[in-house]
Amino acid sequence: YLYNNRYFGDQVFRIIPSSDAEVQAVKQLFQNLTVDLWQPNSASMIQENSTVDVHVGRNKTQWLRRHLHQAHIQSEVLISNLQTEIERQIGYRSSRKRR
């Protein structure tokens, strides 16, 4: 496995905060959670009705899903297993092509 399988079970969430209150709630959630923001590049840039893509470690996916649900914040899972996508991006095809 690439990267020692470190991304197994990690997920990418897409969150679209629809009000300023939701923006603040999302920023608060990210302060309690070490996340890797894909878009925008920092929590300070999160805005109302703008897309937030965030990579979350496997141990925190349930926590984040539960808290988003409790706060009635709309979200979806863009990538449900990051390791699979990583392997698909470079692992399988290019190593076969290189061989």
Binding site: L2, Y3, Y7, V12, R14, D36, L37, W38, Q39, P40, N41, S42, S44, M45, Q47, T51, D53, H55, L78, I79, L82, E85, I86, R88, Q89, I90, R93, S94, K97, R98
Partner: protein, 308 residues
């Protein structure tokens, strides 16, 4: 040789560097490889100069890729651009005209340390790999480290943040080396293009404030023509406009620095996609993504040969 090199797979740093030497070796009349310095970890910062050799004055275009390590489609595009330019020179009159009348400086991997690290250790690494005294976190956002409104809104003072602006402007050897090169060649460089991902946008200054640049009409129409050309390939729509309003406010960015230093056309491309794959754009999409972007970049370059 060039025939075996597969432009439709992602390549690690060492393969890209070998490929650059091969381009230099096999196209001596159109290519010149040189280094503009070393990275924080001591890796060479290679640039390919493309264009027909001539004694007379030639305008120039700078294109860098891989400022942010995890945005792998960037370096893939820079390689694609070189391949298209060299392979089409004989039979494509538009490319031949561009290569005869312009010089292209292509930096396939700007953030060599970060790119290497994203292959070996952390696929989603973004920043450089410099150490920050008294902090365990590493790295500076190379697109917040330029000497223009440095560390103002849209950048972070905290070393552990992804948009950390660095201890001081041009603290990163990679940024310092490119800035030095562009300052030295500023009379000839008329377009600065930085390739990023993802969002499908074409951005121009200002990033650090909501204001219109003096040559807005020319830059806006160049951007409009570029996204139209891009759209003509596969119908992919790009938003375009000032970075501050189209994306968000950020300070210390390379396009603002380039513009402030006299380069009239400064653009940042955010390539495919809009988040379905994000940074993990599959290799099957390298071809269409680079094909459409090539059209946009050629349109920008062609615009330099006309009066605006």
């Amino acid at each position: 040789s060039e025939i075996q090199y597969d432009y439709e797979v992602y390549h690690p740093l060492e393969e890209i560097q070998s490929w650059m030497f091969e381009m230099n070796r096999t196209h001596p009349h159109l290519v010149d490889l040189f280094s503009i310095g070393q990275s924080y970890e001591g890796r060479p910062l290679y640039v390919l100069q493309l264009g027909k050799r001539t004694r007379r004055f030639k305008k120039a275009v700078w294109i860098d890729c891989g400022v942010h390590a995890r945005e792998w489609i960037g370096p893939a595009f820079c390689q694609w651009f070189v391949k298209e330019a060299l392979n089409s020179y004989q039979h494509d009159s538009s490319i031949r005209r561009l290569m005869n009348q312009l010089d292209f400086y292509i930096m396939p991997v700007f953030n060599v340390d970060g790119y290497h690290y994203s292959w070996k250790t952390d696929r989603f690494w973004r920043k450089t790999r410099s150490k920050i005294p008294k902090y365990h976190c590493r790295g500076v956002d190379a697109n917040r480290n330029w000497k223009v409104k440095w560390c103002d809104e849209g950048a972070s003072l905290h070393p552990c943040d992804e948009t950390y602006c660095g201890p001081f402007p041009e603290s990163e050897p990679e940024v310092k080396a490119v800035a030095k090169f562009l300052r030295k060649h500023r009379k000839r460089v008329k377009a600065y293009i930085s390739i990023h991902a993802y969002a499908q946008m074409l951005l121009y200054p200002y990033s650090y404030k909501y204001a219109t640049i003096p040559n807005f009409n020319c830059v806006e129409s160049a951007a409009q023509n570029a996204v139209s050309a891009l759209y003509s390939a596969y119908g992919v729509r790009y938003r375009y406009g000032p970075a501050s309003t189209t994306l968000y406010v950020s300070s210390g960015s390379s396009i603002d620095w380039a513009y402030k230093n006299g380069i009239p056309y400064a653009f940042a491309f955010e390539l495919r996609d809009t988040g379905y794959f994000g940074f993990l754009l599959p290799e099957e999409l390298i071809n269409p993504t680079c094909t459409e972007t090539m059209r946009a970049v050629k349109t920008i370059a062609s615009g330099l040969l006309k009066k605006c």
